[in-house]
Symmetry: C2
Subunit: 121 residues, 2 copies
DNA sequence: CGGTATCCCAGATGATACTG
DNA sequence: CAGTATCATCTGGGATACCG
């Protein structure tokens, strides 16, 4: 495996490169929330528990730059802003599913030491 | 999706839980290096470019605690320490492959703005 | 050979408040 | 409704040195 540089950052492997696109606490929840179709900012925020405006904005801008998500403004009254997955974003879904499956397996194996929480919405 | 707690940490999704097992810069390179069979510390270090002793140690201890990797001491002359994937570690390989595939796709798409590096070993 | 122990920083994330 | 701005904090990982 060769090292490579993209936008001033060094990567050591394809996995590391993939993680730049879907890594971090919030990118995957955002992508999953959009996997059933476009959503408005407010709906997105409601769909993702715990996320703050700052993190939602940061991640949406970042996902736009990475061409995983599009932002479309509809000039209505009141105006509407919709976010949707790009084809590239859709291509990330299988990897995310594989991670979710692994997570489920691990959760099952560790179930004895996991405590479930009621969410306070 | 319900929140849950494991070893004093809150998780919001199975994906996040999976990332606790294979996330970070070095866990995946370590797991991949062991995917063809057990290796000694020194071989592992040679197999993973750029990794420092500190990070290799930290990650190996962590992977042991998470039961992804076993550490076996052979009392020979000189003594030998071997690391190997557990069954749980092997179960992580498909998710890692999916990420590697996604990374390859993204690298191809971005190839115009990627500069390959010769590695200075 | 196969590790440990400190110290430290940058960047990711959180809290809180404000805006057109 | 759809964001921005500011400040505080937390943590992964690097540098460096030492140990049985």
């Amino acid at each position: 495996m060769e090292d490579f540089i993209h936008q001033n950052r060094v990567y050591y492997s394809p996995v590391e490169f993939a993680m730049a696109y879907i890594g971090g606490t919030w990118k995957i929840p955002v992508i999953l929330a959009l996997s059933d179709g476009p959503l408005r900012y407010g709906d997105l925020k409601n769909a993702i528990p715990h996320i703050t405006d700052k993190m939602l904005n940061t991640q949406l801008r970042d996902l736009e730059k990475k061409q995983m998500v599009t932002r479309t403004i509809y000039r209505e009254k009141p105006p509407r802003v919709e976010y949707a997955l790009t084809e590239r974003g859709i291509k990330a879904l299988p990897a995310i599913s594989a991670l979710a499956h692994l997570g489920d397996v691990l959760i099952t194996q560790e179930s004895a030491s996991i405590k479930k929480l009621k969410r306070e919405d």
